[in-house]
């Protein structure tokens, strides 16, 4: 069902690359839970986004059934890179000057979490 490319090496590459990608996603998820402040969480997130998805795409390319599929996979990755890059840039800028004010809002919204302490 997967196509003509059922060669052993291709399968092995898929196994390896997808598990590596999964690892990055896991790391990103742990990071976004555990890191102490907004900007370091942003760092964790972009690693997961760019590398994790990229490795999964790379792994799946070896299972593709034709060039159109490969092209689509790569396009998806490029778009994800673009979106992640741009939006983390924008989010970081939102978070930077507004950190104090947003924190204030949060406290008013009754979330007096310790996590809001800023480490600059």
């Amino acid at each position: 069902m997967i196509g003509l490319n059922n060669i052993l090496i291709f399968d092995l590459l898929t196994y390896g690359l997808t598990s590596l990608g999964l690892l990055f996603f896991l790391a990103g998820t742990v990071g976004i839970q555990r890191f102490p402040n907004t900007h370091s969480r942003l760092h964790a997130l972009t690693k997961a986004d760019n590398l994790g998805l990229g490795l999964i795409v790379l792994g799946l390319i070896f299972q593709a059934d034709g060039w159109v599929t490969v092209a689509k996979l790569i396009l998806i990755w490029i778009l994800a890179l673009l979106a992640a890059g741009i939006s983390s840039q924008l989010v970081a800028r939102v978070a930077l000057p507004d950190a104090v004010r947003l924190k204030g809002n949060e406290i008013r919204e009754r979330h007096p979490s310790k996590k809001t302490t800023r480490h600059d």
Partner: protein, 92 residues
């Protein structure tokens, strides 16, 4: 291979569920945006192996998802800025 790829999908789905916790938790809007973005990318990551075990048709959905993810991120940021500027403006 099918089972392996489905397994990857399941694992990514679990990651995605963990990111949801950060969306709930915050504490800042920026954190929520980021976590939502991780959910978006994670969803693409879930969809790709799913596409691989069927006939790759789901790839189009991943494409739409990733296009819209960037768009939604921009809208979020615009919104947060809009609100922040309004809050400033209304301060007497």
């Amino acid at each position: 291979m099918t089972t392996w790829l489905m397994g990857i999908s399941v694992a990514l789905l679990l990651c995605l569920g963990a990111a949801l916790w950060r969306v709930w938790r915050g504490p800042t809007d920026a954190d929520r945006l980021m976590a939502a973005q991780l959910v978006g990318t994670g969803a693409v990551g879930v969809t790709l192996p799913l596409a691989a075990v069927t006939d790759w048709g789901a790839l189009d959905m991943a494409l739409v998802l990733v296009l819209l993810a960037g768009f939604v991120a921009v809208v979020f940021v615009k919104y947060v800025r809009f609100r922040a500027s309004n809050n400033q403006g209304d301060n007497r």
